[in-house]
Symmetry: C2
Subunit: 169 residues, 2 copies
DNA sequence: GCCAACTATTACGTTTACGTAAATGTAGTG
DNA sequence: CACTACATTTACGTAAACGTAATAGTTGGC
């Protein structure tokens, strides 16, 4: 019972947030068929894993956490474009430091009908909090860098090591 | 067997590194006696916890990890100035992002006899690595901040929320 | 009909630095 | 003696996001 509760999601959100979040992220309609097609895109787990540069484990993990729920054919997962969009969002969330739990809260607010103002508001709220957190972290890192560089200087002096001498040829 | 192996340290290093690391850190000889005394300083766990602003748990944890080893009188721990100095170092290490394992490696190299060049060299080496790590982290955070601020702007626009309006009259 | 490639599930392991009980001992004070 | 403040130990819990087996079923091509 380590990997939580296998969850069933609502139905296949087209991701209102996605358009918001996409923001230039390559939204390739990289289907299985050759050129321009209007058949429903369908990806297998390996396809998306490669596409997003994540492991199969990761995708299954996200599903287990209720972040995506690809349809099944037999046992095999099949992701459509909506799933792909969700994943894009999830990964964006991770990049900016949201926890999966946060991401889930936001995604869960998605309502296929309506303009999803609540979802947006929550996203904005969380984003602003996350922003201040990031700023604090940066400050903390800056302090660390300062203190550490002082220490390094001191150590070098004591060891009489003038500089790293990366290439004094 | 969760908290590792209760370790016995060498003997009571006077912390060669400490002089290096102290770097302006208030080195109050904040003993139990009033003014200037030359009696061996002795602190109880609560004293140092308060002094350093950490929990008792933290100090015991550090001991359990072999980072300090105060003497005992009966069951009770008594820390002297050397222990205090070690703690100062440990906490400095933590501030700049070293793991306790790193800190221990460095402290373990302390040799009461000799100029401890090896200790210094290891410290320098680790410090430089840590420095690059910190720079990378900062870069990562900067990217996150950038991406997040883009997202925020977008969300605000969609919600038609011009600004946080921290105090608009 | 077989092999390779891909997929599935279950479930323990990892990392770091403590938090948080729970039960008990000890020292000093009135 | 009782009370209070402080100390001790053991040991499970936490957070986050997967990694890594181990075992096994499925599919497509030649």
């Amino acid at each position: 019972m380590q990997e939580g509760t296998r969850a069933r999601l609502a139905k296949k959100p087209a991701m209102t947030l996605f358009a918001t979040a996409a923001m230039g992220a390559a939204a390739n309609t990289h289907s299985l068929s050759d050129g321009a097609s209007n058949e429903a895109a369908s990806y297998r787990i390996g396809d998306l894993a490669k596409h997003f540069g994540v492991s199969l484990r990761t995708l299954r993990f996200y599903e287990d956490k209720g972040l995506v729920s690809p349809r099944r054919e037999g046992m095999t997962r099949f992701y459509d474009d909506a799933d792909k969009a969700r994943l894009e969002l999830i990964l964006l969330g991770r990049r900016v430091g949201f926890t999966l739990r946060d991401v889930k809260q936001m995604l869960d607010l998605y309502d296929p009908v309506g303009q999803n103002a609540r979802q947006f508001r929550l996203a904005l709220e969380k984003s602003e909090k996350q922003m201040t957190r990031l700023h604090k972290q940066r400050e903390s890192i800056n302090s660390a860098i300062d203190e550490l560089s002082g220490l390094i200087a001191n150590l070098r002096q004591r060891l009489d090591v003038s500089a790293p001498a990366k290439k004094t040829g």
